[in-house]
Amino acid sequence: MELLQYTLRKLVAGIPLLLGVTFVSFLLMVYFGPDQTYVLLGKNPTAAEIAELRAQLGYDQPFFVRYADYLRELATLDFGYSNSTGEKVAGLLGRTIPVSLALILPGFVLGNLVAIMLALVAAHHRSGWVDKTIMGISVVGMSISFLIVVIAFQIIFSSSYGLGLFPVRGWNVHSFRDYLAHIAVPTMASVFVALGYNTRFYRSVIVEELTRDHVRTARAFGVPPAKLLYRNVLKNCLIPIMTRIVFSIPLIVISGALIMETYFGIPGVGKVTFDAITTGDQPVLKAVVGLTAVLFVLAQLVTDVLYRAVDPRVSLK
């Protein structure tokens, strides 16, 4: 009951944020965005045709009427049809979001799990050669641009100049084997880059916890290192770790997917959104940006509830 009340209160508190995000993105992407009138019309349109199309696209309405329409669409989750392809927006997203998730999730999960493990090892051997090696590699991972890693891995693993193990580009998935072959290179690239940032972050969190008194006491009582790291250190670090993971989810879905989808020619939601911005496909844009904002508010809610789950001292009041 307390949890339900808390959830509702948090959702209400998320409304200003939702309004802000939808307003800024509406202003930028829809109001100042590309005008599709002359793209959709044929040659030599008459004034009546132009006016009709503008009315159909909603361009003739005043700003706040259009914004209010958008909010209504977001509330009912009905965004109409894509301007460019005529496909229903819900159908388009239903088709592309699973592709993006399938592409990104393995790398995201591995990138975080491996980073936490490396960070534990590094922190355990703090300022020894193991620590220095892991941190050195993570600075390298941080310093290479994601795009360079993607291109380099593609040359090394997929092209005929390298090992030629995996498909070079595209998304031609019919079986689980196809799936693994297609995500292999993107996953390796995203894990490589994620390891750089994540390992550093997790290590600094863990090292700070390691200097606490209760860890020293546990050590003095002879708790073995593996148990100490798991029970006394990792569990106490869960709050910053979870915050980082949950908050990176909404960004990963769009931004992280975008580069890989553009480069590998994979029909995911990142690519669809990017194309929608450049062509001014407003129904698609409105849907993606609105849903991302909702995802952010939900992410905040989830972290707050999870805080309570891992730390009983956190109050939900």
Binding site: P16, L28, F32, V139, S143, P250, I277
Partner: protein, 303 residues
């Protein structure tokens, strides 16, 4: 004999330690600590070499022929073309050297502006924490944080109708947030200290307190954050240029890499390697410099 040779060395070390304890300001201690950080010094030297290269480009001393078609298609490296030529016969060495200046231009503009913006808004939010100003700034940060970065850049690029500065505007409008959050936290801590109370008591105006007495005390955060922002700007430029949203007129590593995506499939790697290697070394050096700076300026940091 061994005692005699050992003495000057230990005396020198003691003198050094004494000198370190004598000058007890934050900055001199940080400078002393920074100079002892080998990785940081190496990083700083490399960054300075790049900076000289950028200055040379700005002054027109070298890399003036980056746009000229000077050779054949995909010439191998030679005395004339150090890194070979690209698809249409332009000199890759000159193009990658010219891009150093572009990287510094993007990095400096974005780092300076977003640090300034972050400092001002963060300080105001922190000083008036819990009041309307703070709520507004926090709301703005939340809103801008919730729009996916590349979509925001694309949208700003279109709203500004392909203006060459749209990339900078977009980066500044998101990169100030982290700085601002850190400054806000520090200002909340600082504003309850005695020196602020004293300033209040003798009737110093509020905004003078904020910008003359509190903000200078967050300078160490601003310095470290601006190096981090610099690196982020260079890295974002590459991806934005690849997506066609970045550098409009001129040359950059991002444009070279995006050119090279066609070439690598044909087995020609010089363009890609030149841009990637130059960029990697600069970013790596900057990261090492930034880490050392952080270690030197933050006495509480556990590493």
């Amino acid at each position: 004999m061994s005692a005699a040779t050992g003495l000057p060395a230990s005396a020198g070390r003691e003198a050094q330690a004494a000198a370190a304890t004598r000058r007890q300001t934050l900055w001199s201690k940080a400078a002393w600590k920074f100079r002892r950080d080998r990785a940081g010094m190496v990083g700083l030297c490399i960054v300075l070499v790049y900076f000289v290269a950028a200055l040379g480009v700005w002054s027109g001393w070298w890399a003036t022929g980056w746009a000229e078609v000077a050779g054949g298609k995909w010439n191998p490296p030679s005395a004339e073309h150090w890194f070979g030529t690209n698809l249409i016969g332009q000199d890759i060495y000159q193009r990658s050297l010219f891009s150093v200046a572009t990287a510094f231009e993007v990095g400096l503009v974005v780092a300076v502006l977003s640090t300034l913006l972050g400092a001002v808004l963060g300080a105001l939010a922190g000083f008036f924490s819990g009041k309307l100003t703070d709520e507004l700034v926090l709301w703005l940060m939340g809103v801008l944080d919730s729009i996916p970065f590349y979509l925001l850049v694309a949208a700003i690029a279109f709203a500004l109708e392909g203006n060459a500065w749209s990339m900078h505007v977009a980066m500044v409008s998101t990169f100030w947030i982290t700085t601002s959050r850190l400054v806000r936290g520090e200002v909340i801590k600082l504003k309850n200290l005695e020196f602020v109370e004293a300033a209040h008591a003798i009737g110093v105006p509020e905004y003078t307190i904020i910008f003359r007495h509190i903000v200078p005390n967050t300078l160490h955060i601003l310095l470290v954050q601006s190096t981090i922002t610099f690196v982020a700007a260079i890295k974002s430029e590459v991806i934005l240029s690849f997506l066609g949203l970045g550098v409009k007129d001129g040359m950059s590593w991002g444009l070279m890499i995006s050119e090279s995506t066609l070439e690598v499939l044909a087995g020609f790697f010089n363009n890609f390697l030149a841009a990637s290697a130059l960029m990697f070394v600069l970013v790596m050096a900057f990261n090492m410099f930034s880490d050392a700076l952080q270690d030197a300026l933050d006495p509480r940091k556990v590493s």
